[in-house]
Symmetry: none
Subunit: 253 residues, 2 copies
DNA sequence: GGTAATAACATGTCATAACAAGTTTGAAAA
DNA sequence: TTTTCAAACTTGTTATGACATGTTATTACC
């Protein structure tokens, strides 16, 4: 059941992909009205429920927005990572239709810093593996990823293809199911080294991300410093108000 | 399902909230099977499409996951709850023991920009209220908050104390219970105005946050630009791996 | 002219129905 | 006893139809 995946995809997925491609290609520019549901029903020859399922997925990915009574509109297709779920850069970008690649800068065994030791919960006498890569989005460099792994995981990485996302590699090839991750974000000036790799001015703003990923058994497997170009990357997520406070009656003003 | 004390909410939202409450209260622990769609149809007395709409929303919020042929399972671990709370700056900081204050810079009626119009879902002929404040943490300026409100909400703010968090004010004084918020984060250079207010050099990195807050009925109530000093503020949260894959075989190394 | 009612059209919600596809269970066959 | 396989679950996809609700353009009235 792996080969014939392209054969008969659900209709709503085909429609979604078609519309997504058109949006990303610029057929519908931001704030431009898209065909109504009736028109899509006619042009694709499907029922309304199928059209709406496609639109719902596009809405969830942030490519369109709708207003009751007015219509459906394209929204800006920005490089934006949804962080409701733990995803690697490539996973997140590919699902939005962007082309990604990664360039391995170095992989080596190191004596981990205090910060890395603490996060990965290893002793100073133990080594760790450091992987540095530059990530590209549509051929332009967007981030420098410095990843640290405990030895028992890291030693398997030397022989692997590190030009792709590491998360699927960990899960599928090394059989380490991932669980949660702790993430810190801050804005920082780029140092000389990072500025050079990202082809920007030293001191220009970067998004500095520290991410500590655990497996499902809550053991740390991967600690990373991610330096994103500030002008080409956005984090996006949504949160909910804690409803355990005042019962609050409904109604506004 | 007809005469309800509260204002009329769609059936699928009522069902979603009921199930969500049960999950958060621990009636269904993680990986525990939930009632099948047929059972939910029977117990709530609705059609399958309505049940599935509720389940879809719960899935989107990460509270459940489904496997075809097996069933629907609760997925939300308790720990994730904390980071999904929508909190104002002051609420978040005070709970960590920091001293905060805010200084009102200006409050005025404006003709909203296209971005603000769109986010707050208002027409160009309608006005909006803009509130600009500087926030202090332990006496040092850390952020410039520019908030936009629809007129029907904003007009009540002129007579209020804006030296505190606006979220409790909205909920307790204006009786607008808050729901979810959409948040975008990026690193940016400070412009001259913000640099001056935050007592930093123009061009220095700031964390640029756009936050659109909705009430429980999903109507936008507050759209904000938050500019944090890059060197004094960090966002921290944690996320879970999307485990829509088969539960059961735990891997490991 | 200006305004108010209305028609036309957009998305939002909900029902009933059917079949497809993956999983589990248990009975029949080896 | 073990294997096979079909029935009986589960969720996934899709169609048709109806009415609700919000927006826009037109028409009729003052």
């Amino acid at each position: 059941m792996k080969e014939n995946a392209m054969q008969h995809q659900p209709l709503y997925l085909q429609i979604k992909e078609t519309l997504k491609k058109q949006i990303l290609e610029g057929k519908y520019v931001p704030y431009q009205k898209m065909p109504s549901e009736s028109e899509l029903m006619a042009s694709f020859g499907v029922s309304r429920i199928t059209v709406r399922q496609a639109l719902r997925d596009l809405h969830r990915e942030g490519l369109i927005f709708t207003t009751q009574g007015k219509g459906t509109f394209a929204s800006k297709p920005k490089a934006m990572q949804e962080v409701q779920h733990l995803e690697g850069f490539e996973e997140a970008m590919n699902s939005q239709g962007y082309e990604t690649s990664a360039q391995l800068v170095s992989i080596r065994e190191i004596n981990p810093s205090k910060d890395v030791q603490d996060k990965l919960n290893i002793h100073s006498k133990e080594g760790a593996v450091e992987v540095i890569r530059v990530r590209y989005l549509n051929r332009e460099p967007v981030s420098v990823d410095t990843s640290f792994f405990p030895m028992q995981i890291g030693r398997h990485l030397f022989a692997r293809d590190l030009g792709r996302d590491i998360f699927p590699l960990l899960e599928n090839e090394l059989n380490i199911p991932l669980g949660r991750a702790e993430i810190s974000l801050e804005a920082r000036p780029a140092d000389a080294n990072i500025a050079k790799l990202l082809q920007m001015e030293p001191g220009a703003p970067i998004m500095w991300v520290q991410r500590l990923t655990h497996d499902v058994n809550n053991h740390p497997v991967d600690y990373e410093y991610l330096a994103f170009r500030g002008d080409s990357y956005k984090y996006h997520f949504h949160v909910e108000r804690d409803r355990t406070r005042t019962p609050g009656k409904q109604g506004g003003l």
